[in-house]
């Protein structure tokens, strides 16, 4: 059973800031989703391999051949901060 502490922990991992009323609401909503998953667990899945992907496709690869990259100015165009040739980010704590 999921509790408010679990929700706060997951929110922190995902860098989400939740107000107390949001924590309460999320706990209720997530509990419902998990209950639904538990429902499926009642089915007998012995002998059914886990599905990692819904498509019935395997081995999509490409040859090791370079294609043109973005220009640097295009690459940096959407960056909130730029320092010379690089993306600039706040100092790591």
């Amino acid at each position: 059973m999921i509790g408010e502490d679990d929700v706060r922990y997951v929110a922190k991992l995902a860098r989400l800031r939740l107000e107390q009323d949001e924590v309460a609401r999320m706990t209720g909503e997530l509990a419902k989703i998990l209950a639904h998953i538990d429902k499926m667990s009642e089915l007998d899945m012995a002998g059914v391999p886990p599905t990692a992907h819904v498509l019935d496709v395997v081995n999509v690869t490409r040859p090791d051949k370079p294609q043109p990259s973005l220009s640097r100015s295009d690459a940096l165009r959407n960056a909130p901060a730029v320092d010379d040739a690089c993306f600039r980010v706040p100092r790591m704590s």
């Binding site: 922990y9 490409r62 370079p66 990259s69 040739a85 690089c86 600039r88 706040p90 100092r91 790591m92």
Partner: protein, 484 residues
Amino acid sequence: MTAWEPVIGLEMHVELDTRTKMFCACEVTKGDAPNTHTCPRCLAHPGALPVVNQRAVEYAARIALALNCSVRPRNIFHRKNYFYPDLPKAYQISQYDEPLAVEGWFEYWVGDEKLRCRINRVHMEEDAAKLIHAGGDAGRIAGSDYSMVDFNRGGTPLIEIVSEPDIPSPEAARELLQQLRNLVIELGVSECNMEEGQIRWDANVSVRPKGSTELGTRTELKNMNSFRYLQQALDAEIPRQVEVLEAGGTIDLETLHFDPDTGTTTPLRSKEEAHDYRYFPEPDLVPLVIDPAWVEELRRAQPELPAARVERFTAQYGLSRADALVLGSAHALAAFYEEVVALGAGAKPAANWTMGEYLAHLNAAGLEAGHGHVTAERLAKLVKLVEDGTVSTSSGKDVFAKMIAERAEPEDIVDKYGLGQISDTSELAAIVAAIVAANPAQVEQYRGGKQQVIGFFVGQVMKASGGRANPQLVNELLRKALGT
């Protein structure tokens, strides 16, 4: 007093020398201007989808085979979730419980002892971008004002090799890494350039009472890329753990930083919940199904690996195991030596010259084998000149030094400096007579039965001849002159 033994495991990362990145077609480069090899995929623009580089899978499989792993018939990619500015998607595409290959082993030499380390797994992932810390102390996180990100490296194919905790000493850990690096270089899948960080590793270490089979709590030494520091860090960490345990304390599972300046290990500030990566299958990539016939094809096409080459060097060239290890362990030096032999130099003298003068030259000049200032052709000529008696061994060393200084052929050096061996009896007899006449005291000693004084005379004659006298002839002439 309990005797303790360390248990060491390694996790190694190798950047592959493919032309393009793991999941996009940007070129993998070294030293290019920052952020000139990026695209919407490796910058993680919304909606851009990864596609697996076929060559990277091949290279990874070849590493796995060389480590005697089973390549798994089906494998999938997972997302490893964490936030850091060098990882634009906020997850790394990696492999988790269905990796490329598992359950192998690697044999390596520590002195005369052959050890085996089990390999837990070999998997594929992508490298992070490069962070440059600005302000504060140059390049350090501590004290920096902000950081800059260069995404050229981001997305480079990266192989992770995880060993079992089978390594019995810091020295063995260093040897294993060096020999494993040679193996990867041999395969031609990565140059494993240390300065570029193309190969780097984490070590985990614990101690336990000698003879125990249980593992103690381990600590981790992260992201090292110097063999020397690895050994120093382990040499510092193992006694620290023993000291804590003998004082009745416990070891915390933690990540440590080794400071080469103080020679001590200190805990890294632990990133809170940093180890909860919430792995889940990467929905943007379909499974890889590996054809066993393709794996067999790769296995057949593998080059001769260093371990096999060392064995062959002992059998084919009659070298001692120690010499075969020096000459046969690394691709470039082995190729150089074999070329010298193929050009007609005797296997044993060629080995001695390659390990002696040639290696000393490489070390002094800081050059890689094959890139020294003496080519295999010239060394082979010199070895043959010594073998046929044209120059003495000691003059040969002189010729070698002059070949480097003048970038010239050995026979031209011999002519230019008159370094040919003196095998002319009358010329040598005159020198011998002069030396004998000049040292009456030693002559008396010798005649009085002190046979070893002959060494003194040989030395004097060699010196007088500028190292060019034929030593055998000198011996003969001396014994005659001294009347025995």
